[in-house]
Symmetry: none
DNA sequence: CATGAATGAGCCTTCATTCAT
DNA sequence: CATGAATGAAGGCTCATTCAT
């Protein structure tokens, strides 16, 4: 009852195994269709273990989100490989590349993305936390870059819209992955392709933003 | 048994009421969480009525998709208000505007979008039909416009990527609507805002595509 | 409401068609598993027709029993082809032959047997009628023959037991037909085989009864 | 999941209680009409317990058959009280007596008979197993005795027919028990009566078989 | 008379959760 | 700590029957 948080070390195997199994099952089937029994079976633990260690299916799900978020951002932080003072162009490219890789890989890092993509469509009680602790910071991070790229004083709405344009292009490949697999069955999503996608999005967006900057200057005159 | 057609007007009641109620419930809760009892209760019909009129929860869902698709595309076709011979710029703007309105409105037209957005994340047995009968035609429609905008012989992949960029920006406002509502609670999505969104996406995309066209010409030389 | 009985002539087709279809379905699936929809579908009538013409599934079943009994006994009466004054041996042979043919054929005459065989195991509300109007008369008919064969004054129980022995051998091929089909898949039940079966049962029984008669005489001395 | 064996004594309760209750309900009402709710109510367990212990109503039924077969044959084996070298006459009498007692008693031993008698009329998916594991061995066992009684080389068909004659007389009292109860309401089926029945069947059959043996010898000369 | 539509009861099953060991 | 067993709620579906035309 009091050990829901932070007792990562108490039982070396069980809790961790449940988290891993649950992350996969939740990512594959969603919260609703995922069954406790399936998770326990994959984790080779008793059904009661979940209620013991996590109280709830719901609470387990929340813990899984934390767990998988850590996994994802440890490997692919927003500013992966950037240095202070890098140009906003570079920072944007890095942001996009990092987001795409974090989302599309088939390593455990992608679990978080798949879980969150479900939250977009069918928010659970965990949604608020995700919004505040993941989406808003990400949005803020990107807004700063976009702001610099647009230059000067730009209506906040403009920045927001451009942020949306950038992020939407990245998430699309997560959001629409099943559709894309049907539409273009031959298309692979290996490292090379992910880089190409990131490059396209970055190029596409930079072109648009630069043009926008010019237009706005013209309007301001 | 086979009277899906023909008695559209003969029985103004039950079947139609079930379809409407089901569309809402499926859109709100998804196929899995939606219960036939809830649907029937909203439609004020007996549970057995679903079995009688639609045989299955699953088959009802399929009929709901057909029904809501018709609703959506009757009001907002791809080429809403376009004329033959319109420039690709105009056709792109119209396509985007039509898509955004079809997706974001409050009216029943948006039901199809919300249903399909769930299919993106958690495909059901109806997914293949949606892909072939809705997504692929839409993609093809857009590809032609983009192809013209890019001009000349362009690698198919380029066109695909640009299509993805355009569509992703539109769908984002569907896909991320719950998140956006949390991130920017004050933001409304009335007619004016939808037009503004469509304008932004169109401007953003046209800038990028034109730049891309220039760049490619340069490369070709 | 008032026309449940005897309105065989009112609707030439419907009622008769329902009876035929119902007889087959009840014989194939039993009262419980048989569904009115299946019956109506086979009879090409509306589901409500049954309730209209027969009030009940149960009442329909009772009517089916009457109908099929008539069918069976019209073709194979107990004393088929016998003449007054025939010896009890001959009358027994005829009785057995008639019973076996009535039960085992694949013409509609066998419907009654198959229906009744279910009643043996799972009596319905129609059981009492069957017992009194079919079984008891049959038993009485056979008892007289057996009585003559045993001769003189024999304990009623003796007669009963011998009747049981004779009848049981006949019914066995109805009762156990599915089992026999599995045990001896190659075995056919055409006219020839049915005659052979009847001959065996008659021979077997006559031998036993004659021996019994001798034994009893010995005992009486 | 696979603990059908081994914990026969460990849990004296639930599983066993379900088996007993289910055996009675299935015997009384048949597979179709029997409801899991009725079974669980009699066994004083939750409806979900059946799913937990037996997965299915159908699988429960199969387990009930195994369970009741064991019960029946443990108490009344085919060769109850026989010794090696006993004459075929004695072995036939014992076989018949054993079969009659196994089938007609009030004790739980009769459950198997009642269950199987339903399978004769309305085979379920368990039928094949019953045929192969119960009927065929029984038939083979009896065939050997009959073969000896008929002596020398007899056409297989003859043996089969005599087996059928013997078995049919025994099963008749199971098959027709409801009918007999109506036809002869005063008749009891206590131990004495069962012995009398067995004696009659044995005497009747032995007479017939001996006579048949003589006749066939005559034919062969 | 006949029909399509509608009803309500009931059934089997599944699932997350809890209890007793 | 961990486990097997047990629970109650809920869900989808089927069926015989009735209603209104």
């Amino acid at each position: 009852m009091k050990k829901n948080h932070q007792n990562v070390e108490s039982t070396p195997g069980t809790r961790e195994r449940i988290l891993q199994a649950a992350a996969e099952v939740f990512a594959d089937s969603g919260f609703e269709r995922a069954t406790v029994r399936e998770i326990c079976s994959r984790a080779s633990v008793n059904v009661a273990a979940i209620n013991y260690h996590f109280r709830d299916k719901e609470n387990l799900y929340i813990e899984v989100l934390k767990y998988s978020k850590e996994l994802a951002f440890k490997k692919y932080p927003h500013d992966l490989g950037t240095q202070k003072g890098d140009s906003p162009e570079i920072r944007l490219r890095v942001f996009i590349r990092s987001l795409v890789l974090r989302i599309l890989g088939d390593d455990p890092s992608s679990l978080f993305g798949r879980l969150v993509s479900r939250e977009y469509i069918e928010p659970t009680s965990a949604f608020d936390v995700i919004v505040e602790e993941t989406m808003r910071p990400t949005f803020a991070f990107l807004s700063e870059i976009i702001g610099e790229l647009l230059g000067g004083k730009v209506p906040a709405m403009r920045v927001h819209m451009c942020c949306a344009s950038v992020i939407s292009q990245c998430l699309f490949f997560l959001y629409a992955r099943h559709a894309l697999a049907k539409l273009f069955p031959e298309q692979k999503f290996g490292r090379t392709e992910m880089e190409a996608i990131a490059d396209h999005i970055a190029g596409f967006s930079l072109s648009a933003i630069k043009d926008l900057r010019k237009t706005m200057k013209g309007e301001r005159k």
